[in-house]
């Protein structure tokens, strides 16, 4: 009995699917009995194609993480979960590179079927999604954004329509300020969503504390806000935006400590409708973002 046969005999008694694949050529070198019974004999074929149904090496392929710079085994065992669309099962994969008795570097993968466990998890995730969707729906029906207590999109849209009409009728001035928290995604990624939510709430409080009662604050999207400022010309809106920018920059945020925001400003012209007004504020914000953030756009 060769060493290779010993390996194979060992793998055959393990009650999970096991296959070996060449690290370089992706060819399946061996499958244990259990896996052959389930999937048929795929030895000699490319693992990504025959096992996972992919035309190219899988995006989630762990091979590069199992070998060192000389493409020899680095002795790491990597455990991951993957969904296999060929047999519609979820697997926990235990993968490691080894040197096969003929000197080649091969990977062995032990695949534990975790479909039942996953089903429970997935049902939970779908329930989470249903809840989030319901929340959004309720939000649509109410005037305020549940999280920040700023006006929601629907309400601020309506407010803007009213203000644009009023400004025009009485030939007054109206400006809007748009702001977007800089590098917000990093907060969520680094500290989690609860911290992200906290930053949003704190920013809303700063704005509320530093604007007039006649100004209306709305949450425009994820981390983007809009302030509708009646009786405010462009230069006053700039002053106001600059003041808010500074307040945010100087604020001691609870967990992330420092955070900045970029601002865009626009004033209503006789040719404007709500849409073009917002578009110009958005362009101004875009300018601020593209010129280093933490500033007010032109």
């Amino acid at each position: 009995m060769t060493e290779a046969d010993l390996f194979k005999a060992l793998f055959d008694v393990i009650p999970y699917n096991i296959y070996l694949a060449d690290i370089n050529s992706f060819k399946v070198m061996y499958m244990n009995k259990q896996m052959i019974k389930q999937r048929g004999n795929l030895v000699g074929r490319k693992c990504y194609k025959s096992i996972y149904g992919e035309p190219k090496p899988c995006l989630f392929c762990k091979n590069p993480d199992l070998i060192d710079d000389e493409r020899k085994p680095n002795n790491k065992m990597i455990v991951s979960e993957c969904f296999n669309p060929v047999d519609d099962h979820w697997y926990q994969l235990h993968e490691k590179a080894i040197t096969w008795p003929n000197g080649d570097t091969v990977k062995y993968a032990i695949a534990v079927n975790i479909s039942e466990l996953k089903q429970t998890q997935n049902e939970l995730a779908e329930a989470h999604a249903q809840l989030s969707l319901k929340n959004r729906e309720l939000e649509r029906l109410s005037a305020t954004d549940h999280l920040t207590q700023a006006y929601n999109r629907l309400k601020i849209d309506e407010l803007m329509r009213v203000e644009v009409g009023r400004t025009r009728r009485y030939q007054r001035v109206l400006s809007i300020i748009m702001l977007d928290i800089d590098h917000f995604k990093e907060v969520n990624d680094q500290y989690g969503h609860q911290t992200g939510d906290l930053v949003l709430k704190e920013v809303v409080n700063i704005i509320k504390d530093n604007t007039r009662n006649t100004d209306s604050l709305g949450r425009w999207g994820g981390e983007e806000f809009i302030i509708v400022c009646p009786e405010t010309d462009l230069s006053s809106a700039h002053v106001m935006a600059e003041k808010l920018r500074k307040k945010i920059e100087e604020f001691d945020f609870s967990i992330v400590k420092r955070k900045t925001a970029s601002f865009g400003v626009a004033s209503l012209t006789p040719e404007d409708d709500e849409e073009s007004l917002i578009r110009r504020a958005d362009e101004s914000l875009y300018f601020a973002k593209n010129n280093g953030r933490n500033r007010v756009g032109k």
């Binding site: 969904f83 669309p85 479909s115 996953k118 997935n122 995730a125 999604a129 969520n188």
Partner: protein
């Protein structure tokens, strides 16, 4: 419900094929498919489908980003996620980005059907 034109976005050919078959058996049509986020945006603009099924893990941009980008230009787009990612954060991000549904793989035909019907009843053909 009328027959819908649906754009299927998934980097796995096999999954795309499976979804297409399910859609056909429900009386809908896969009007186009895309394997990357960029392609998804292009195909959306080209076909203006009634609905989109969107994977999350793709080679270039992820499906949540693609969802945001499509919705930016087309606020009425109806997009549902069909993914293998069940982490709570991911679910939250997708819904926040504007996804109207979230289904996990393995995709079950009854669930897909129920989701399409629900989304269509709530948001479809309003214009």
């Amino acid at each position: 419900m009328r027959s819908l034109n649906i754009l299927v976005v998934d980097d796995s050919q096999l999954t795309t094929k499976k979804i297409a078959q399910m859609l056909i058996s429900m009386g809908h049509e896969m009007v186009a498919f895309a394997r990357t986020g960029e392609e998804a945006i292009k195909q959306y603009i080209k076909h203006k489908p009634d609905m989109v099924t969107m994977d999350i893990t793709m080679p270039d941009m992820d499906g949540i980003e693609a969802t945001k980008r499509i919705l930016q230009e087309n606020p009425d787009a109806l997009i549902m996620m069909v993914t293998s990612h069940g982490q709570e954060g991911m679910v939250f991000d997708a819904i926040e980005a504007g996804a109207k549904g979230y289904l996990l793989k393995p995709l079950q035909m009854e669930k897909l059907k129920a989701n399409i019907n629900e989304i269509y009843e709530k948001y479809g053909d309003k214009q």
